[in-house]
């Protein structure tokens, strides 16, 4: 989980071109939208693409978006919970 969150922080910075932000500056539970990292609706679309591209995880219910994208930890939990269990 820690490794996944660390990777996510790097990918969020790269995908959203957060030029002055370092991975260690993003807290695991820090809010990503609003007063936190200050992301907006276009960033949400970029994050959906990131999840689909890198983790092959699709967001099927848009209403769950605010809950899933609340913080790096909630995104990581969503990815973990969406993994198809090994047969």
């Amino acid at each position: 989980m820690d490794k996944l969150m660390a990777d996510l922080k790097e990918q969020i910075i790269e995908q959203l071109n957060l030029q002055d932000v370092k991975p260690e500056e993003i807290g695991d539970d820090q809010p990503l939208f609003g007063d936190g990292l200050g992301l907006d609706s276009i960033d949400a679309l970029e994050l959906i693409v990131l999840l689909q591209q890198k983790y092959k995880v699709k967001l099927s219910n848009a209403e769950e978006g605010p809950k899933i994208f609340r913080s790096v930890r909630t995104i990581a939990e969503f990815i973990e919970n969406s993994k198809i269990p090994n047969a």
């Binding site: 071109n17 276009i42 970029e46 693409v49 689909q52």
Partner: protein, 349 residues
């Protein structure tokens, strides 16, 4: 139509509080890329992260121009660009191919439209007035100017922000070079005009102007007229077009102190100017400007900045080797690919 302020990001040191072309920047290779300022001082860093190079150039230049003029909110924003946001278009199309048309990131797509720059400026200013972008190849900037001129004459606006922007990208440069537009061998831009051959040097730039229908004490220059013509059949037609334009301004070529032509070192391109020099501009000093900014479809915006600066300062900078004569009236004559020809007449205020 008066130029109240002008801002220019180009391959020369032209942006910000710089002396007017006191020292020219030398290049080697086959392209002249812009010297870009520190955008963080000009644009909110939160917005910069979504802007590609051409958007940053255009937005910074437009905002700087407004600041210089002391205008918070223009009555209209009009831009001209032939290629638009090429880098974003390239990013978006490449990802379509790489990702098999699935899960495409939205930012490059959103930013790839041609009207992005004028829209970004309007968003930053919260300017809900007239906003238009002309995409007419080598006549894009001239059409933006004509639109501004008509708007001012009709009384629909008093202060208009007008800009011309185009960028070089790795792909566009490679494609246009393959089409034979640029030199095969490296040459200094300062030697470009003296040694005509096949091809020229690529260029890019962003130049913005705050145009007003009212004279002011600090106006740079006055634009008397703008005219364009398309694919002239022969030299005689070009000559006639120039003659008609000067007649419409009630002047003759003897009233012009300086002609600024779009000479670019390409033999075929420059033969048009040579013929005009022998037929029309016989006694009038003629200088080129594309060795400073390179060739691109909206380079006439750079020419307008150069001409306005010459009129503002009262003379041609020494670096252009035409210093001495006081200049009060300038004619810019440019053509792009012998397709789009334009004439812009300026006078000192």
């Amino acid at each position: 139509m008066y130029i109240r302020a002008a801002s220019n990001i180009s391959p020369q040191n032209t942006f910000g509080n710089q002396p007017f072309l006191s020292e020219l920047v030398e290049y080697t290779g086959d392209k002249l890329s812009c010297i870009e300022p520190d955008y963080k001082a000009l644009i909110d860093p939160k917005l910069i992260r979504r802007m590609s190079r051409i958007i940053k150039m255009g937005v910074a230049c437009g905002m700087d121009c407004l600041q210089q003029a002391g205008i918070d909110l223009p009555d209209a924003i009009i831009t001209g660009t032939a290629y638009g946001c090429l880098e974003d278009t390239n990013t978006f199309l490449s990802k379509m191919v790489q990702q098999n048309e699935e899960a495409l990131a939205p930012t490059a797509f959103i930013q790839s439209t041609h009207n992005t720059i004028s829209a970004q400026i309007a968003l930053l200013l919260q300017c809900h007035s007239y906003n238009n972008t002309f995409v007419n190849g080598g006549a894009s900037f001239e059409n933006a100017l004509l639109d501004a001129m008509m708007l001012l004459r009709e009384g629909g606006a008093r202060n208009i922000l007008v800009g011309g922007i185009d960028e070089i990208t790795i792909n566009s440069h490679a494609i246009l070079k393959r089409m034979g537009l640029y030199r095969r061998q490296s040459i200094s831009p300062f030697e470009l005009l003296n040694f005509p051959d096949k091809g020229t040097m690529a260029g890019e730039g962003a130049a913005f102007f705050l145009l007003s229908n009212q004279p002011s004490d600090n106006a740079w220059a006055k634009i008397d007229g703008v005219s364009g013509f398309y694919k002239p059949r022969n030299t005689a037609e070009i000559q006639q077009q120039i003659s008609n334009f000067l007649s419409s301004q009630s002047i003759s070529i003897d009233d012009i102190d300086l002609v600024l032509t779009g000479k670019n070192g390409d033999t075929k391109n420059d033969s048009v100017y040579q013929q005009m020099q022998h037929a029309v501009f016989i006694e009038t000093p003629v200088i080129g400007y594309k060795h400073l900014c390179g060739e691109y479809p909206t380079s006439s915006a750079f020419a307008l900045w150069l001409a306005a600066n010459i009129l503002k300062t009262g003379g041609v900078p020494a670096a252009l080797e035409q210093a001495g004569t006081p200049v009060k009236k300038i004619l810019i004559y440019n053509h792009y690919q012998n397709t789009h020809h334009s004439l812009i007449l300026l006078s000192a205020c």
